[in-house]
Protein backbone atom coordinates (compact mmCIF):
# COMPACT_ATOMS: atom_id res chain seq x y z
CA UNK A 1 0.00 0.00 0.00
CA UNK A 2 1.56 3.31 -0.91
CA UNK A 3 2.91 5.70 1.68
CA UNK A 4 0.76 8.59 0.59
CA UNK A 5 -2.34 7.03 2.19
CA UNK A 6 -0.80 7.18 5.66
CA UNK A 7 -0.27 10.92 5.30
CA UNK A 8 -3.82 11.57 4.14
CA UNK A 9 -5.38 9.41 6.86
CA UNK A 10 -3.13 11.21 9.35
CA UNK A 11 -4.38 14.54 8.02
CA UNK A 12 -7.96 13.35 8.65
CA UNK A 13 -7.13 12.35 12.24
CA UNK A 14 -5.38 15.68 12.87
CA UNK A 15 -8.32 17.74 11.68
CA UNK A 16 -10.70 15.45 13.62
CA UNK A 17 -8.78 16.28 16.79
CA UNK A 18 -8.90 19.94 15.77
CA UNK A 19 -12.69 19.78 15.40
CA UNK A 20 -13.16 18.30 18.86
CA UNK A 21 -10.93 20.73 20.75
CA UNK A 22 -12.29 24.24 21.15
CA UNK A 23 -10.25 27.35 21.59
CA UNK A 24 -11.79 30.80 21.38
CA UNK A 25 -13.48 30.89 17.98
CA UNK A 26 -16.31 28.68 16.74
CA UNK A 27 -15.38 29.16 13.11
CA UNK A 28 -12.01 27.46 13.68
CA UNK A 29 -13.87 24.23 14.37
CA UNK A 30 -15.88 24.71 11.19
CA UNK A 31 -12.59 25.14 9.32
CA UNK A 32 -11.31 21.88 10.78
CA UNK A 33 -14.55 20.21 9.62
CA UNK A 34 -13.82 21.48 6.13
CA UNK A 35 -10.32 20.03 6.47
CA UNK A 36 -11.83 16.63 7.31
CA UNK A 37 -13.89 16.76 4.16
CA UNK A 38 -10.91 17.79 2.04
CA UNK A 39 -8.87 14.85 3.31
CA UNK A 40 -11.78 12.47 2.65
CA UNK A 41 -12.08 13.85 -0.88
CA UNK A 42 -8.36 13.38 -1.53
CA UNK A 43 -8.44 9.84 -0.14
CA UNK A 44 -11.47 8.88 -2.23
CA UNK A 45 -10.00 10.36 -5.40
CA UNK A 46 -6.65 8.63 -4.93
CA UNK A 47 -8.27 5.28 -4.16
CA UNK A 48 -10.55 5.47 -7.20
CA UNK A 49 -7.65 6.35 -9.47
CA UNK A 50 -5.23 3.76 -8.11
CA UNK A 51 -7.66 0.84 -8.23
CA UNK A 52 -8.63 1.93 -11.78
CA UNK A 53 -12.30 1.55 -10.95
CA UNK A 54 -13.63 4.35 -13.09
CA UNK A 55 -17.21 4.40 -11.91
CA UNK A 56 -16.25 5.22 -8.35
CA UNK A 57 -14.88 8.62 -9.32
CA UNK A 58 -18.48 9.77 -8.84
CA UNK A 59 -18.00 9.37 -5.07
CA UNK A 60 -15.64 12.34 -4.53
CA UNK A 61 -17.95 14.58 -6.56
CA UNK A 62 -21.03 13.64 -4.54
CA UNK A 63 -19.02 14.04 -1.32
CA UNK A 64 -18.13 17.58 -2.37
CA UNK A 65 -21.80 18.43 -3.00
CA UNK A 66 -22.78 17.21 0.47
CA UNK A 67 -19.86 19.14 1.96
CA UNK A 68 -21.07 22.34 0.32
CA UNK A 69 -24.57 21.94 1.78
CA UNK A 70 -23.14 21.21 5.22
CA UNK A 71 -20.84 24.24 5.08
CA UNK A 72 -23.78 26.43 4.10
CA UNK A 73 -25.89 25.31 7.07
CA UNK A 74 -22.91 25.61 9.45
CA UNK A 75 -22.16 29.12 8.30
CA UNK A 76 -25.82 30.13 8.61
CA UNK A 77 -25.79 29.01 12.25
CA UNK A 78 -22.55 30.92 12.78
CA UNK A 79 -24.16 34.04 11.33
CA UNK A 80 -27.05 33.96 13.82
CA UNK A 81 -24.64 33.42 16.68
CA UNK A 82 -22.55 36.32 15.47
CA UNK A 83 -25.68 38.50 15.17
CA UNK A 84 -26.80 37.71 18.72
CA UNK A 85 -23.48 37.92 20.54
CA UNK A 86 -21.34 40.18 18.35
CA UNK A 87 -18.51 37.63 17.98
CA UNK A 88 -18.41 33.87 17.64
CA UNK A 89 -16.55 33.21 20.87
CA UNK A 90 -17.35 29.83 22.40
CA UNK A 91 -17.44 31.25 25.92
CA UNK A 92 -20.45 33.37 24.98
CA UNK A 93 -22.59 30.33 24.24
CA UNK A 94 -24.12 29.82 27.69
CA UNK A 95 -27.80 30.38 26.94
CA UNK A 96 -28.54 27.24 24.86
CA UNK A 97 -30.13 29.33 22.14
CA UNK A 98 -28.74 30.99 19.07
Amino acid sequence: MPYIYINIILAFVISLIGTLIYRSHLISSLLCLEGMILSLFTLNALLSLNINFTLSTIVPLILLVFAACEAAVGLALLIIISNTYGLDYVQNLNLLQC
Binding site: M1, A11, S39, A45, S48, I58, P60, A68
Partner: protein, 175 residues
Protein backbone atom coordinates in the same frame (compact mmCIF):
# COMPACT_ATOMS: atom_id res chain seq x y z
CA UNK B 1 11.79 14.05 -8.58
CA UNK B 2 10.40 10.66 -7.82
CA UNK B 3 9.59 11.69 -4.29
CA UNK B 4 7.72 14.86 -5.20
CA UNK B 5 4.29 13.35 -4.50
CA UNK B 6 5.41 12.15 -1.08
CA UNK B 7 6.87 15.56 -0.25
CA UNK B 8 3.58 17.13 -1.34
CA UNK B 9 1.68 14.82 0.99
CA UNK B 10 4.02 15.68 3.88
CA UNK B 11 3.45 19.40 3.25
CA UNK B 12 -0.30 18.63 3.07
CA UNK B 13 -0.14 17.22 6.61
CA UNK B 14 1.91 20.24 7.77
CA UNK B 15 -0.80 22.53 6.38
CA UNK B 16 -3.43 20.54 8.26
CA UNK B 17 -1.43 20.88 11.48
CA UNK B 18 -1.27 24.61 10.71
CA UNK B 19 -5.01 25.18 10.90
CA UNK B 20 -5.67 22.44 13.43
CA UNK B 21 -3.52 24.20 16.03
CA UNK B 22 -6.19 26.92 15.97
CA UNK B 23 -4.60 30.26 15.24
CA UNK B 24 -6.90 33.12 14.35
CA UNK B 25 -9.34 31.95 11.60
CA UNK B 26 -7.73 34.22 8.99
CA UNK B 27 -4.51 32.23 9.18
CA UNK B 28 -6.43 28.98 9.44
CA UNK B 29 -8.23 29.72 6.20
CA UNK B 30 -4.96 30.54 4.49
CA UNK B 31 -3.47 27.24 5.65
CA UNK B 32 -6.53 25.34 4.39
CA UNK B 33 -6.15 27.00 0.98
CA UNK B 34 -2.48 25.91 0.84
CA UNK B 35 -3.46 22.36 1.80
CA UNK B 36 -6.18 22.38 -0.83
CA UNK B 37 -3.70 23.35 -3.51
CA UNK B 38 -1.30 20.60 -2.43
CA UNK B 39 -4.16 18.08 -2.37
CA UNK B 40 -4.97 19.09 -5.93
CA UNK B 41 -1.34 18.43 -6.84
CA UNK B 42 -1.43 14.98 -5.22
CA UNK B 43 -4.63 13.99 -7.03
CA UNK B 44 -3.36 15.36 -10.36
CA UNK B 45 -0.10 13.42 -10.05
CA UNK B 46 -2.08 10.17 -9.93
CA UNK B 47 -3.69 10.97 -13.25
CA UNK B 48 -6.84 12.67 -12.02
CA UNK B 49 -6.61 16.13 -13.54
CA UNK B 50 -10.40 16.60 -13.62
CA UNK B 51 -10.77 15.90 -9.90
CA UNK B 52 -7.87 18.26 -9.15
CA UNK B 53 -9.63 20.98 -11.09
CA UNK B 54 -12.82 20.25 -9.16
CA UNK B 55 -10.89 20.81 -5.92
CA UNK B 56 -9.59 24.16 -7.10
CA UNK B 57 -12.79 25.47 -8.65
CA UNK B 58 -15.50 24.11 -6.40
CA UNK B 59 -13.75 23.67 -3.09
CA UNK B 60 -11.25 26.52 -3.01
CA UNK B 61 -13.00 28.89 -5.36
CA UNK B 62 -16.52 28.30 -4.01
CA UNK B 63 -16.52 27.13 -0.44
CA UNK B 64 -13.35 28.81 0.76
CA UNK B 65 -14.42 32.17 -0.66
CA UNK B 66 -17.63 31.94 1.37
CA UNK B 67 -15.59 31.01 4.44
CA UNK B 68 -13.25 33.89 3.68
CA UNK B 69 -15.82 36.65 3.86
CA UNK B 70 -17.60 35.04 6.80
CA UNK B 71 -14.25 35.09 8.62
CA UNK B 72 -13.78 38.70 7.60
CA UNK B 73 -17.14 39.46 9.19
CA UNK B 74 -16.49 37.68 12.49
CA UNK B 75 -12.85 38.52 13.12
CA UNK B 76 -11.06 40.38 15.89
CA UNK B 77 -8.81 43.38 16.01
CA UNK B 78 -5.51 41.64 16.75
CA UNK B 79 -5.51 38.22 15.09
CA UNK B 80 -3.15 35.77 16.71
CA UNK B 81 -0.73 33.99 14.45
CA UNK B 82 1.37 30.89 15.06
CA UNK B 83 4.22 32.84 16.64
CA UNK B 84 2.29 35.19 18.88
CA UNK B 85 0.76 32.63 21.23
CA UNK B 86 2.70 29.91 22.99
CA UNK B 87 -0.25 27.47 22.95
CA UNK B 88 -0.64 27.64 19.16
CA UNK B 89 3.10 27.44 18.60
CA UNK B 90 3.53 24.43 20.86
CA UNK B 91 0.63 22.58 19.23
CA UNK B 92 2.13 23.26 15.82
CA UNK B 93 5.58 22.08 16.90
CA UNK B 94 4.20 18.90 18.49
CA UNK B 95 2.35 18.07 15.27
CA UNK B 96 5.42 18.83 13.15
CA UNK B 97 7.59 16.64 15.36
CA UNK B 98 5.08 13.81 15.07
CA UNK B 99 5.12 14.05 11.30
CA UNK B 100 8.94 14.06 11.14
CA UNK B 101 9.16 10.99 13.37
CA UNK B 102 6.53 9.23 11.28
CA UNK B 103 8.43 9.92 8.05
CA UNK B 104 11.67 8.69 9.62
CA UNK B 105 9.91 5.54 10.87
CA UNK B 106 8.37 4.88 7.45
CA UNK B 107 11.66 4.98 5.63
CA UNK B 108 13.38 2.56 7.98
CA UNK B 109 11.98 -0.59 6.39
CA UNK B 110 8.78 -2.44 5.72
CA UNK B 111 5.99 -2.19 8.26
CA UNK B 112 2.61 -3.62 8.95
CA UNK B 113 0.04 -1.29 10.43
CA UNK B 114 -3.55 -2.25 11.31
CA UNK B 115 -3.55 -5.09 8.82
CA UNK B 116 -2.23 -3.12 5.84
CA UNK B 117 1.24 -3.90 4.60
CA UNK B 118 3.10 -0.66 3.88
CA UNK B 119 6.14 -1.44 1.85
CA UNK B 120 8.18 0.61 -0.50
CA UNK B 121 7.43 3.45 -2.78
CA UNK B 122 5.72 1.64 -5.62
CA UNK B 123 2.75 3.95 -5.42
CA UNK B 124 4.83 6.94 -6.42
CA UNK B 125 5.67 5.70 -9.91
CA UNK B 126 2.73 6.54 -12.10
CA UNK B 127 2.74 4.14 -15.01
CA UNK B 128 2.00 5.48 -18.43
CA UNK B 129 2.87 9.00 -17.46
CA UNK B 130 4.76 9.92 -20.57
CA UNK B 131 2.22 9.03 -23.18
CA UNK B 132 -1.43 9.53 -23.85
CA UNK B 133 -3.94 7.33 -22.14
CA UNK B 134 -6.80 5.93 -24.18
CA UNK B 135 -9.30 6.15 -21.37
CA UNK B 136 -9.30 9.29 -19.25
CA UNK B 137 -10.56 7.73 -16.08
CA UNK B 138 -11.75 10.69 -14.13
CA UNK B 139 -13.45 12.40 -17.05
CA UNK B 140 -15.42 9.30 -17.96
CA UNK B 141 -16.22 8.71 -14.30
CA UNK B 142 -17.49 12.22 -13.90
CA UNK B 143 -19.49 11.88 -17.11
CA UNK B 144 -21.08 8.66 -15.88
CA UNK B 145 -22.70 10.75 -13.13
CA UNK B 146 -25.14 11.87 -15.80
CA UNK B 147 -25.82 8.44 -17.32
CA UNK B 148 -25.43 5.62 -14.78
CA UNK B 149 -25.53 7.79 -11.69
CA UNK B 150 -28.60 9.77 -12.63
CA UNK B 151 -30.22 9.10 -9.25
CA UNK B 152 -27.12 10.48 -7.51
CA UNK B 153 -27.42 13.57 -9.66
CA UNK B 154 -31.12 14.00 -8.92
CA UNK B 155 -30.64 13.63 -5.16
CA UNK B 156 -27.61 15.92 -5.07
CA UNK B 157 -29.42 18.59 -7.07
CA UNK B 158 -32.50 18.36 -4.87
CA UNK B 159 -30.35 18.57 -1.75
CA UNK B 160 -28.60 21.70 -2.98
CA UNK B 161 -31.97 23.27 -3.80
CA UNK B 162 -33.41 22.47 -0.36
CA UNK B 163 -30.27 23.67 1.46
CA UNK B 164 -30.70 27.15 0.02
CA UNK B 165 -34.11 27.35 1.66
CA UNK B 166 -32.68 25.86 4.85
CA UNK B 167 -29.94 28.51 4.99
CA UNK B 168 -32.41 31.33 4.38
CA UNK B 169 -34.91 30.16 7.01
CA UNK B 170 -32.21 29.41 9.59
CA UNK B 171 -30.75 32.88 9.15
CA UNK B 172 -34.19 34.40 9.67
CA UNK B 173 -34.56 32.38 12.90
CA UNK B 174 -37.58 30.43 11.70
CA UNK B 175 -36.23 27.02 12.70
Amino acid sequence: MMYVVFIMSVLYVVGFIGFSSKPSPVYGGMSLVVSGGLGCGIVTSSGGSFLGLVVFLVYLGGMMVVFGYTIAMATEEYPETWGSNVVVLSAFLVGLLMEVFMVMWLFSGEHELVGFYFSGLEGLMVLGEGGFEYVREDYSGGASLYSYGFWFLAMAGWMLFVSIFIAIEVTRKRY
